[in-house]
Symmetry: C2
Subunit: 258 residues, 2 copies
DNA sequence: GAGTGGATTTCGCAT
DNA sequence: ATGCGAAGTCCACTC
Protein backbone atom coordinates (compact mmCIF):
# COMPACT_ATOMS: atom_id res chain seq x y z
CA UNK A 1 0.00 0.00 0.00
CA UNK A 2 1.35 3.35 -1.01
CA UNK A 3 1.33 6.18 1.51
CA UNK A 4 2.08 8.76 -1.14
CA UNK A 5 -0.04 11.86 -0.65
CA UNK A 6 -2.54 12.44 -3.43
CA UNK A 7 -1.13 15.71 -4.69
CA UNK A 8 -1.73 17.15 -8.10
CA UNK A 9 0.92 19.47 -9.41
CA UNK A 10 0.72 20.93 -12.88
CA UNK A 11 3.40 23.12 -14.36
CA UNK A 12 2.19 25.68 -16.92
CA UNK A 13 -1.09 23.84 -17.47
CA UNK A 14 -3.48 24.78 -20.24
CA UNK A 15 -6.63 26.68 -19.27
CA UNK A 16 -8.63 23.54 -19.96
CA UNK A 17 -6.47 21.43 -17.67
CA UNK A 18 -6.69 24.15 -15.05
CA UNK A 19 -10.46 24.32 -15.21
CA UNK A 20 -10.87 20.60 -14.95
CA UNK A 21 -8.41 20.25 -12.09
CA UNK A 22 -9.82 23.21 -10.16
CA UNK A 23 -13.38 22.00 -10.50
CA UNK A 24 -12.43 18.55 -9.34
CA UNK A 25 -10.43 19.94 -6.42
CA UNK A 26 -13.23 22.29 -5.37
CA UNK A 27 -15.77 19.48 -5.34
CA UNK A 28 -13.41 17.36 -3.22
CA UNK A 29 -12.71 20.24 -0.87
CA UNK A 30 -9.02 20.25 -1.59
CA UNK A 31 -6.65 23.13 -1.13
CA UNK A 32 -5.76 24.85 -4.37
CA UNK A 33 -2.69 26.94 -5.04
CA UNK A 34 -2.25 28.77 -8.31
CA UNK A 35 0.57 31.03 -9.41
CA UNK A 36 -0.02 33.09 -12.49
CA UNK A 37 -0.83 36.39 -14.11
CA UNK A 38 -4.21 37.64 -13.00
CA UNK A 39 -6.49 40.59 -12.25
CA UNK A 40 -9.09 40.83 -9.54
CA UNK A 41 -12.41 42.51 -8.90
CA UNK A 42 -13.96 42.71 -5.47
CA UNK A 43 -17.41 43.95 -4.67
CA UNK A 44 -19.06 43.81 -1.28
CA UNK A 45 -18.65 45.90 1.87
CA UNK A 46 -16.36 48.00 -0.30
CA UNK A 47 -15.17 47.63 -3.86
CA UNK A 48 -11.73 47.19 -5.35
CA UNK A 49 -9.95 46.53 -8.58
CA UNK A 50 -6.51 45.06 -9.07
CA UNK A 51 -4.80 45.40 -12.42
CA UNK A 52 -2.92 42.51 -14.02
CA UNK A 53 0.18 41.16 -12.35
CA UNK A 54 1.76 37.93 -11.13
CA UNK A 55 0.29 36.60 -7.90
CA UNK A 56 -0.43 33.55 -5.86
CA UNK A 57 -3.98 32.40 -5.28
CA UNK A 58 -4.86 30.08 -2.41
CA UNK A 59 -8.26 28.52 -1.92
CA UNK A 60 -8.70 26.55 1.26
CA UNK A 61 -11.00 23.66 2.02
CA UNK A 62 -13.22 25.82 4.24
CA UNK A 63 -13.91 28.24 1.43
CA UNK A 64 -11.48 30.97 2.32
CA UNK A 65 -9.56 32.72 -0.44
CA UNK A 66 -6.28 34.59 -0.48
CA UNK A 67 -4.68 36.53 -3.31
CA UNK A 68 -1.09 37.33 -2.46
CA UNK A 69 1.17 39.76 -4.27
CA UNK A 70 4.91 39.01 -4.28
CA UNK A 71 5.36 41.39 -1.37
CA UNK A 72 3.75 42.07 1.96
CA UNK A 73 2.25 40.15 4.84
CA UNK A 74 -1.35 40.84 3.91
CA UNK A 75 -3.30 39.45 0.98
CA UNK A 76 -4.30 42.13 -1.54
CA UNK A 77 -7.70 40.50 -1.95
CA UNK A 78 -9.37 37.77 0.05
CA UNK A 79 -12.48 36.21 1.44
CA UNK A 80 -12.99 34.71 4.91
CA UNK A 81 -14.20 31.09 5.18
CA UNK A 82 -17.56 30.11 3.76
CA UNK A 83 -17.36 31.05 0.11
CA UNK A 84 -19.04 29.22 -2.72
CA UNK A 85 -17.01 28.95 -5.89
CA UNK A 86 -17.64 29.00 -9.59
CA UNK A 87 -14.91 28.51 -12.14
CA UNK A 88 -15.12 28.95 -15.85
CA UNK A 89 -13.28 29.58 -19.08
CA UNK A 90 -14.05 32.58 -21.24
CA UNK A 91 -12.02 33.34 -24.34
CA UNK A 92 -8.89 31.77 -22.92
CA UNK A 93 -9.30 33.53 -19.59
CA UNK A 94 -9.63 31.23 -16.60
CA UNK A 95 -11.85 32.78 -13.96
CA UNK A 96 -12.72 31.90 -10.40
CA UNK A 97 -15.60 33.57 -8.67
CA UNK A 98 -15.98 33.34 -4.91
CA UNK A 99 -19.33 34.35 -3.46
CA UNK A 100 -20.15 34.91 0.18
CA UNK A 101 -23.57 35.53 1.69
CA UNK A 102 -23.81 37.72 4.73
CA UNK A 103 -22.44 40.06 3.92
CA UNK A 104 -23.03 39.56 0.23
CA UNK A 105 -19.65 39.76 -1.42
CA UNK A 106 -18.13 38.68 -4.67
CA UNK A 107 -14.50 38.15 -5.51
CA UNK A 108 -13.52 37.45 -9.10
CA UNK A 109 -10.07 36.40 -10.21
CA UNK A 110 -9.12 36.25 -13.89
CA UNK A 111 -6.04 34.39 -15.09
CA UNK A 112 -4.55 34.78 -18.53
CA UNK A 113 -1.40 32.88 -17.64
CA UNK A 114 -0.94 30.05 -15.19
CA UNK A 115 2.54 29.12 -14.09
CA UNK A 116 1.59 26.31 -11.82
CA UNK A 117 -1.33 24.74 -10.07
CA UNK A 118 -1.31 22.51 -7.02
CA UNK A 119 -4.25 20.72 -5.40
CA UNK A 120 -4.05 18.62 -2.28
CA UNK A 121 -5.75 17.58 0.93
CA UNK A 122 -3.93 18.55 4.09
CA UNK A 123 -4.59 17.16 7.55
CA UNK A 124 -3.74 19.37 10.48
CA UNK A 125 -4.81 18.54 14.00
CA UNK A 126 -1.74 20.07 15.64
CA UNK A 127 -2.43 22.10 18.74
CA UNK A 128 -1.56 25.79 18.68
CA UNK A 129 -0.60 27.49 21.94
CA UNK A 130 -0.01 31.16 22.40
CA UNK A 131 1.62 32.52 25.53
CA UNK A 132 1.85 35.99 26.99
CA UNK A 133 -1.55 37.28 25.97
CA UNK A 134 -3.42 39.97 27.87
CA UNK A 135 -5.48 37.24 29.44
CA UNK A 136 -2.30 35.64 30.73
CA UNK A 137 -1.35 38.91 32.37
CA UNK A 138 -4.69 39.14 34.08
CA UNK A 139 -4.46 35.59 35.32
CA UNK A 140 -0.92 36.13 36.58
CA UNK A 141 -1.97 39.23 38.52
CA UNK A 142 -4.89 37.37 40.05
CA UNK A 143 -2.64 34.63 41.44
CA UNK A 144 0.34 36.86 42.20
CA UNK A 145 -0.94 40.38 42.94
CA UNK A 146 2.49 41.51 44.15
CA UNK A 147 3.34 41.82 40.48
CA UNK A 148 1.44 45.08 40.69
CA UNK A 149 2.20 46.02 44.29
CA UNK A 150 2.63 44.45 47.70
CA UNK A 151 -0.50 44.10 49.76
CA UNK A 152 -2.87 44.23 46.82
CA UNK A 153 -5.90 41.98 47.13
CA UNK A 154 -7.70 41.31 43.85
CA UNK A 155 -11.42 40.85 44.29
CA UNK A 156 -12.76 40.26 40.81
CA UNK A 157 -11.62 40.49 37.23
CA UNK A 158 -13.58 41.51 34.15
CA UNK A 159 -15.97 43.34 36.44
CA UNK A 160 -18.73 45.03 34.54
CA UNK A 161 -19.08 48.78 35.05
CA UNK A 162 -20.84 51.42 33.03
CA UNK A 163 -18.38 52.17 30.24
CA UNK A 164 -17.15 48.60 29.77
CA UNK A 165 -15.03 46.13 31.70
CA UNK A 166 -12.45 46.57 34.40
CA UNK A 167 -9.57 44.19 33.87
CA UNK A 168 -8.92 43.66 37.58
CA UNK A 169 -10.52 45.22 40.63
CA UNK A 170 -9.26 44.95 44.20
CA UNK A 171 -8.28 46.54 47.52
CA UNK A 172 -4.81 47.85 48.38
CA UNK A 173 -3.00 47.41 51.70
CA UNK A 174 -4.58 50.62 53.01
CA UNK A 175 -8.07 49.51 52.16
CA UNK A 176 -8.48 51.72 49.13
CA UNK A 177 -10.24 50.48 46.06
CA UNK A 178 -8.01 49.75 43.09
CA UNK A 179 -8.95 49.50 39.45
CA UNK A 180 -6.41 47.94 37.11
CA UNK A 181 -6.32 48.26 33.36
CA UNK A 182 -4.01 45.81 31.63
CA UNK A 183 -2.33 46.22 28.27
CA UNK A 184 0.02 43.61 26.82
CA UNK A 185 1.99 46.21 24.88
CA UNK A 186 2.87 49.88 25.03
CA UNK A 187 -0.11 51.64 26.57
CA UNK A 188 -1.35 54.63 24.61
CA UNK A 189 -3.71 57.51 25.21
CA UNK A 190 -6.61 55.18 24.58
CA UNK A 191 -5.78 52.92 27.51
CA UNK A 192 -5.38 55.85 29.88
CA UNK A 193 -8.71 57.38 28.89
CA UNK A 194 -10.39 54.01 29.24
CA UNK A 195 -8.99 53.55 32.74
CA UNK A 196 -9.99 57.10 33.62
CA UNK A 197 -13.53 56.40 32.51
CA UNK A 198 -13.69 53.27 34.64
CA UNK A 199 -12.40 55.08 37.71
CA UNK A 200 -14.83 57.96 37.22
CA UNK A 201 -17.83 55.72 36.74
CA UNK A 202 -16.94 53.77 39.86
CA UNK A 203 -16.49 56.98 41.84
CA UNK A 204 -20.01 57.95 40.89
CA UNK A 205 -21.24 54.71 42.37
CA UNK A 206 -19.26 54.26 45.57
CA UNK A 207 -18.42 57.90 46.32
CA UNK A 208 -14.97 57.19 47.71
CA UNK A 209 -11.37 57.45 46.67
CA UNK A 210 -10.32 55.04 43.93
CA UNK A 211 -6.86 54.34 42.60
CA UNK A 212 -6.51 53.60 38.91
CA UNK A 213 -3.43 51.65 37.88
CA UNK A 214 -2.40 51.09 34.31
CA UNK A 215 -0.38 47.89 33.97
CA UNK A 216 1.64 47.48 30.77
CA UNK A 217 5.18 46.74 29.60
CA UNK A 218 5.58 50.37 28.62
CA UNK A 219 3.72 53.65 28.37
CA UNK A 220 3.72 55.84 25.25
CA UNK A 221 5.79 58.99 25.43
CA UNK A 222 3.36 61.90 25.80
CA UNK A 223 0.84 59.77 27.63
CA UNK A 224 2.59 59.72 31.00
CA UNK A 225 1.62 63.36 31.45
CA UNK A 226 -2.04 62.67 30.70
CA UNK A 227 -1.93 59.78 33.15
CA UNK A 228 -0.65 61.99 35.96
CA UNK A 229 -3.07 64.76 35.11
CA UNK A 230 -5.92 62.33 35.54
CA UNK A 231 -4.52 61.15 38.87
CA UNK A 232 -3.74 57.66 37.64
CA UNK A 233 -0.72 55.43 38.21
CA UNK A 234 1.45 53.27 36.03
CA UNK A 235 3.04 49.93 36.85
CA UNK A 236 5.49 48.37 34.43
CA UNK A 237 4.88 44.66 33.84
CA UNK A 238 6.30 42.40 31.16
CA UNK A 239 3.76 40.00 29.62
CA UNK A 240 6.47 37.39 29.23
CA UNK A 241 7.12 37.48 32.94
CA UNK A 242 3.43 36.72 33.43
CA UNK A 243 3.64 33.84 31.02
CA UNK A 244 6.63 32.47 32.95
CA UNK A 245 4.72 32.62 36.22
CA UNK A 246 1.75 30.79 34.75
CA UNK A 247 4.01 28.20 33.19
CA UNK A 248 5.75 27.51 36.50
CA UNK A 249 2.46 27.38 38.33
CA UNK A 250 1.09 24.96 35.82
CA UNK A 251 4.15 22.75 36.18
CA UNK A 252 3.80 22.85 39.96
CA UNK A 253 0.14 21.96 39.91
CA UNK A 254 0.96 18.98 37.74
CA UNK A 255 3.57 17.93 40.28
CA UNK A 256 1.00 18.23 43.04
CA UNK A 257 -1.42 16.21 41.03
CA UNK A 258 0.90 13.23 40.62
CA UNK B 1 14.26 32.73 -27.22
CA UNK B 2 12.07 31.03 -24.63
CA UNK B 3 9.71 33.11 -22.56
CA UNK B 4 9.13 30.27 -20.12
CA UNK B 5 9.11 31.52 -16.54
CA UNK B 6 11.98 30.20 -14.49
CA UNK B 7 9.95 28.22 -12.01
CA UNK B 8 11.25 25.41 -9.92
CA UNK B 9 8.72 22.83 -8.83
CA UNK B 10 9.75 19.77 -6.89
CA UNK B 11 7.33 17.05 -5.89
CA UNK B 12 8.20 15.18 -2.68
CA UNK B 13 11.81 16.34 -2.78
CA UNK B 14 14.44 14.96 -0.44
CA UNK B 15 15.54 17.14 2.44
CA UNK B 16 18.85 17.69 0.69
CA UNK B 17 17.16 18.85 -2.49
CA UNK B 18 14.90 21.07 -0.44
CA UNK B 19 17.77 22.66 1.42
CA UNK B 20 19.69 23.36 -1.75
CA UNK B 21 16.70 24.76 -3.60
CA UNK B 22 15.55 26.90 -0.69
CA UNK B 23 19.00 28.35 -0.11
CA UNK B 24 19.35 29.19 -3.76
CA UNK B 25 15.88 30.73 -3.89
CA UNK B 26 16.49 32.78 -0.76
CA UNK B 27 19.71 34.19 -2.13
CA UNK B 28 17.97 35.13 -5.38
CA UNK B 29 15.02 36.66 -3.53
CA UNK B 30 12.52 34.32 -5.02
CA UNK B 31 9.17 33.40 -3.61
CA UNK B 32 9.12 30.00 -1.95
CA UNK B 33 6.09 27.84 -1.37
CA UNK B 34 6.35 24.62 0.60
CA UNK B 35 3.62 22.17 1.52
CA UNK B 36 4.49 19.58 4.10
CA UNK B 37 4.28 18.30 7.64
CA UNK B 38 5.80 20.77 10.04
CA UNK B 39 5.85 22.28 13.51
CA UNK B 40 6.52 25.87 14.42
CA UNK B 41 8.00 27.89 17.26
CA UNK B 42 7.56 31.61 17.55
CA UNK B 43 9.26 33.86 20.03
CA UNK B 44 9.04 37.62 20.04
CA UNK B 45 6.32 40.07 21.10
CA UNK B 46 4.58 36.94 22.34
CA UNK B 47 5.48 33.28 22.14
CA UNK B 48 3.74 30.35 20.52
CA UNK B 49 4.12 26.72 19.65
CA UNK B 50 2.37 24.79 16.93
CA UNK B 51 2.39 21.00 17.04
CA UNK B 52 3.00 18.91 13.92
CA UNK B 53 0.50 19.04 11.09
CA UNK B 54 0.26 19.61 7.36
CA UNK B 55 0.59 23.22 6.30
CA UNK B 56 1.66 25.59 3.60
CA UNK B 57 4.64 27.85 4.06
CA UNK B 58 5.13 30.94 1.94
CA UNK B 59 8.24 33.07 1.99
CA UNK B 60 8.07 36.24 -0.06
CA UNK B 61 10.84 38.19 -1.72
CA UNK B 62 10.55 41.02 0.79
CA UNK B 63 11.21 38.69 3.69
CA UNK B 64 7.67 38.14 4.88
CA UNK B 65 6.60 34.69 6.02
CA UNK B 66 3.26 32.99 6.22
CA UNK B 67 2.37 29.60 7.69
CA UNK B 68 -1.13 28.63 6.67
CA UNK B 69 -3.18 25.80 8.09
CA UNK B 70 -5.70 24.08 5.78
CA UNK B 71 -8.44 26.27 7.20
CA UNK B 72 -9.01 29.92 7.99
CA UNK B 73 -8.25 33.28 6.50
CA UNK B 74 -5.41 34.08 8.85
CA UNK B 75 -1.97 32.54 8.95
CA UNK B 76 -1.31 30.58 12.16
CA UNK B 77 2.23 31.94 12.29
CA UNK B 78 3.85 34.70 10.31
CA UNK B 79 6.36 37.48 10.09
CA UNK B 80 5.92 40.86 8.41
CA UNK B 81 8.42 41.94 5.72
CA UNK B 82 12.09 42.31 6.57
CA UNK B 83 13.10 38.92 7.90
CA UNK B 84 16.50 37.35 7.48
CA UNK B 85 16.48 33.63 6.85
CA UNK B 86 18.58 30.67 7.77
CA UNK B 87 17.86 27.17 6.56
CA UNK B 88 19.46 23.95 7.64
CA UNK B 89 19.18 20.21 7.90
CA UNK B 90 19.36 18.45 11.26
CA UNK B 91 18.82 14.72 11.53
CA UNK B 92 16.53 14.62 8.54
CA UNK B 93 14.54 17.63 9.73
CA UNK B 94 14.55 20.58 7.35
CA UNK B 95 14.36 23.83 9.26
CA UNK B 96 13.85 27.43 8.29
CA UNK B 97 14.52 30.19 10.76
CA UNK B 98 13.23 33.70 10.10
CA UNK B 99 14.71 36.46 12.24
CA UNK B 100 13.48 40.01 12.50
CA UNK B 101 15.13 42.88 14.33
CA UNK B 102 12.96 45.58 15.85
CA UNK B 103 11.17 44.06 17.40
CA UNK B 104 13.47 41.11 17.86
CA UNK B 105 11.52 38.05 16.82
CA UNK B 106 12.28 34.54 15.72
CA UNK B 107 10.12 32.13 13.78
CA UNK B 108 11.30 28.57 13.33
CA UNK B 109 9.64 26.05 11.06
CA UNK B 110 10.60 22.38 11.12
CA UNK B 111 9.64 20.00 8.32
CA UNK B 112 9.85 16.24 8.58
CA UNK B 113 7.93 15.69 5.35
CA UNK B 114 7.81 17.84 2.27
CA UNK B 115 5.07 17.26 -0.29
CA UNK B 116 6.10 19.91 -2.71
CA UNK B 117 8.29 22.92 -3.09
CA UNK B 118 7.97 25.76 -5.56
CA UNK B 119 10.32 28.69 -6.09
CA UNK B 120 9.79 31.51 -8.54
CA UNK B 121 10.13 35.21 -9.24
CA UNK B 122 6.90 37.08 -9.68
CA UNK B 123 6.53 40.53 -11.19
CA UNK B 124 3.55 42.57 -10.09
CA UNK B 125 3.19 46.24 -10.92
CA UNK B 126 -0.60 46.14 -11.19
CA UNK B 127 -2.39 49.06 -9.62
CA UNK B 128 -4.74 48.38 -6.74
CA UNK B 129 -7.72 50.68 -6.20
CA UNK B 130 -10.08 50.58 -3.28
CA UNK B 131 -13.38 52.43 -3.23
CA UNK B 132 -15.88 53.22 -0.49
CA UNK B 133 -13.33 53.57 2.29
CA UNK B 134 -13.70 56.03 5.13
CA UNK B 135 -11.36 58.33 3.24
CA UNK B 136 -13.73 58.30 0.26
CA UNK B 137 -16.58 59.29 2.55
CA UNK B 138 -14.60 62.18 3.96
CA UNK B 139 -13.64 63.37 0.50
CA UNK B 140 -17.21 63.12 -0.77
CA UNK B 141 -18.49 65.17 2.16
CA UNK B 142 -15.87 67.83 1.55
CA UNK B 143 -16.94 68.31 -2.08
CA UNK B 144 -20.66 67.72 -1.52
CA UNK B 145 -21.54 68.73 2.05
CA UNK B 146 -25.26 68.41 1.37
CA UNK B 147 -24.69 64.69 1.82
CA UNK B 148 -24.75 65.52 5.51
CA UNK B 149 -27.15 68.45 5.43
CA UNK B 150 -28.06 71.46 3.32
CA UNK B 151 -26.17 74.61 4.03
CA UNK B 152 -23.21 72.88 5.66
CA UNK B 153 -19.85 74.49 4.95
CA UNK B 154 -16.87 72.27 5.70
CA UNK B 155 -13.85 74.22 6.84
CA UNK B 156 -11.18 71.61 7.44
CA UNK B 157 -10.77 67.89 7.69
CA UNK B 158 -8.51 65.88 9.98
CA UNK B 159 -8.40 68.84 12.37
CA UNK B 160 -6.23 68.23 15.39
CA UNK B 161 -7.87 68.66 18.77
CA UNK B 162 -6.75 67.48 22.18
CA UNK B 163 -7.94 63.89 22.15
CA UNK B 164 -7.13 63.20 18.49
CA UNK B 165 -8.38 64.15 15.05
CA UNK B 166 -11.75 65.39 13.91
CA UNK B 167 -12.81 63.84 10.61
CA UNK B 168 -14.55 66.96 9.28
CA UNK B 169 -15.16 70.32 10.90
CA UNK B 170 -17.40 73.08 9.53
CA UNK B 171 -20.20 75.61 9.96
CA UNK B 172 -23.92 74.96 9.44
CA UNK B 173 -26.42 77.27 7.74
CA UNK B 174 -27.15 78.97 11.07
CA UNK B 175 -23.51 79.68 11.73
CA UNK B 176 -23.10 76.98 14.36
CA UNK B 177 -19.93 74.96 14.54
CA UNK B 178 -20.24 71.36 13.39
CA UNK B 179 -17.98 68.42 14.16
CA UNK B 180 -18.42 65.31 12.02
CA UNK B 181 -17.25 61.83 12.86
CA UNK B 182 -17.31 59.39 9.95
CA UNK B 183 -17.57 55.60 10.09
CA UNK B 184 -17.70 53.41 7.02
CA UNK B 185 -19.71 50.72 8.81
CA UNK B 186 -22.21 50.42 11.61
CA UNK B 187 -21.22 52.97 14.23
CA UNK B 188 -20.95 51.58 17.74
CA UNK B 189 -20.56 52.98 21.22
CA UNK B 190 -16.93 53.70 20.51
CA UNK B 191 -17.66 56.12 17.67
CA UNK B 192 -20.23 58.03 19.71
CA UNK B 193 -17.90 58.42 22.68
CA UNK B 194 -15.11 59.54 20.37
CA UNK B 195 -17.32 62.20 18.79
CA UNK B 196 -18.49 63.30 22.22
CA UNK B 197 -14.91 63.76 23.35
CA UNK B 198 -14.13 65.89 20.32
CA UNK B 199 -17.17 68.07 20.84
CA UNK B 200 -16.39 68.53 24.52
CA UNK B 201 -12.78 69.41 23.95
CA UNK B 202 -13.75 71.96 21.31
CA UNK B 203 -16.38 73.44 23.63
CA UNK B 204 -13.67 74.01 26.20
CA UNK B 205 -11.72 75.97 23.64
CA UNK B 206 -14.32 78.10 21.87
CA UNK B 207 -16.96 78.27 24.60
CA UNK B 208 -19.93 78.15 22.26
CA UNK B 209 -22.51 75.71 21.06
CA UNK B 210 -21.17 72.90 18.92
CA UNK B 211 -23.12 70.28 17.00
CA UNK B 212 -21.67 66.80 16.76
CA UNK B 213 -22.84 64.68 13.85
CA UNK B 214 -22.08 61.02 13.48
CA UNK B 215 -22.07 60.00 9.82
CA UNK B 216 -22.28 56.28 9.09
CA UNK B 217 -24.32 53.77 7.06
CA UNK B 218 -25.96 52.55 10.27
CA UNK B 219 -25.92 53.01 14.01
CA UNK B 220 -25.81 50.10 16.47
CA UNK B 221 -29.03 49.35 18.29
CA UNK B 222 -28.50 50.48 21.86
CA UNK B 223 -26.21 53.28 20.81
CA UNK B 224 -28.85 55.65 19.46
CA UNK B 225 -29.95 56.35 23.02
CA UNK B 226 -26.43 57.18 24.13
CA UNK B 227 -26.07 59.47 21.14
CA UNK B 228 -29.18 61.45 22.06
CA UNK B 229 -28.22 61.58 25.72
CA UNK B 230 -24.96 63.20 24.75
CA UNK B 231 -26.79 65.70 22.55
CA UNK B 232 -25.31 64.38 19.33
CA UNK B 233 -26.90 63.74 15.95
CA UNK B 234 -26.79 60.93 13.42
CA UNK B 235 -26.84 61.17 9.65
CA UNK B 236 -27.14 58.01 7.57
CA UNK B 237 -24.69 57.84 4.67
CA UNK B 238 -23.69 54.89 2.50
CA UNK B 239 -19.96 54.66 1.74
CA UNK B 240 -20.75 53.27 -1.70
CA UNK B 241 -22.82 56.34 -2.51
CA UNK B 242 -19.78 58.42 -1.65
CA UNK B 243 -17.65 56.31 -3.95
CA UNK B 244 -20.16 56.84 -6.75
CA UNK B 245 -20.03 60.60 -6.30
CA UNK B 246 -16.26 60.65 -6.43
CA UNK B 247 -16.29 58.45 -9.51
CA UNK B 248 -18.70 60.71 -11.35
CA UNK B 249 -16.75 63.78 -10.36
CA UNK B 250 -13.55 62.20 -11.58
CA UNK B 251 -15.17 61.34 -14.91
CA UNK B 252 -16.46 64.90 -15.26
CA UNK B 253 -13.09 66.45 -14.52
CA UNK B 254 -11.55 64.23 -17.18
CA UNK B 255 -14.16 65.43 -19.67
CA UNK B 256 -13.35 69.01 -18.79
CA UNK B 257 -9.71 68.30 -19.28
CA UNK B 258 -10.09 67.00 -22.83
C1' DG C 1 -27.91 37.51 15.05
C1' DA C 2 -25.74 41.82 16.58
C1' DG C 3 -22.48 44.17 19.74
C1' DT C 4 -17.84 44.50 21.92
C1' DG C 5 -12.92 44.33 22.39
C1' DG C 6 -8.40 42.18 21.29
C1' DA C 7 -4.63 41.23 17.89
C1' DT C 8 2.43 38.51 17.59
C1' DT C 9 -2.81 42.74 14.58
C1' DT C 10 -0.62 45.25 9.82
C1' DC C 11 -0.34 49.44 7.39
C1' DG C 12 0.18 54.15 6.39
C1' DC C 13 0.74 58.80 7.66
C1' DA C 14 2.11 62.60 10.44
C1' DT C 15 5.03 64.33 14.12
C1' DA D 1 11.77 56.41 15.21
C1' DT D 2 7.29 56.93 17.49
C1' DG D 3 2.53 57.71 17.84
C1' DC D 4 -1.98 57.38 16.21
C1' DG D 5 -6.07 55.61 13.98
C1' DA D 6 -8.22 52.87 10.10
C1' DA D 7 -9.12 48.28 8.17
C1' DG D 8 -13.25 45.19 2.92
C1' DT D 9 -9.87 44.47 9.22
C1' DC D 10 -10.66 38.99 11.31
C1' DC D 11 -11.99 36.51 15.29
C1' DA D 12 -13.91 34.98 19.63
C1' DC D 13 -17.16 35.70 22.96
C1' DT D 14 -21.39 37.63 25.04
C1' DC D 15 -26.13 38.92 25.04
Amino acid sequence: MSNEKPIIILKTPTKEETLETVRSALSRRRIIIIAGNCWVDYQGRARSTLNPGERILIIKEDGSVLVHRPKGYEPVNWQPPGCIFHSDLREDIFLIKAVRRKPRETLQIFFDEIYFLAAMSLVDEGEFSLYASEEDMQEAIMIQPSLVEDGLHPITYEKKVEPGFIDVYGIDKNGRMVVIEIKRRTAGKEAVLQLSKYVDSLKNVVNREIRGILVAPKIAKGVQKLLLTLGLEFKRLDPKKCAEILKKRKARSLEDFY
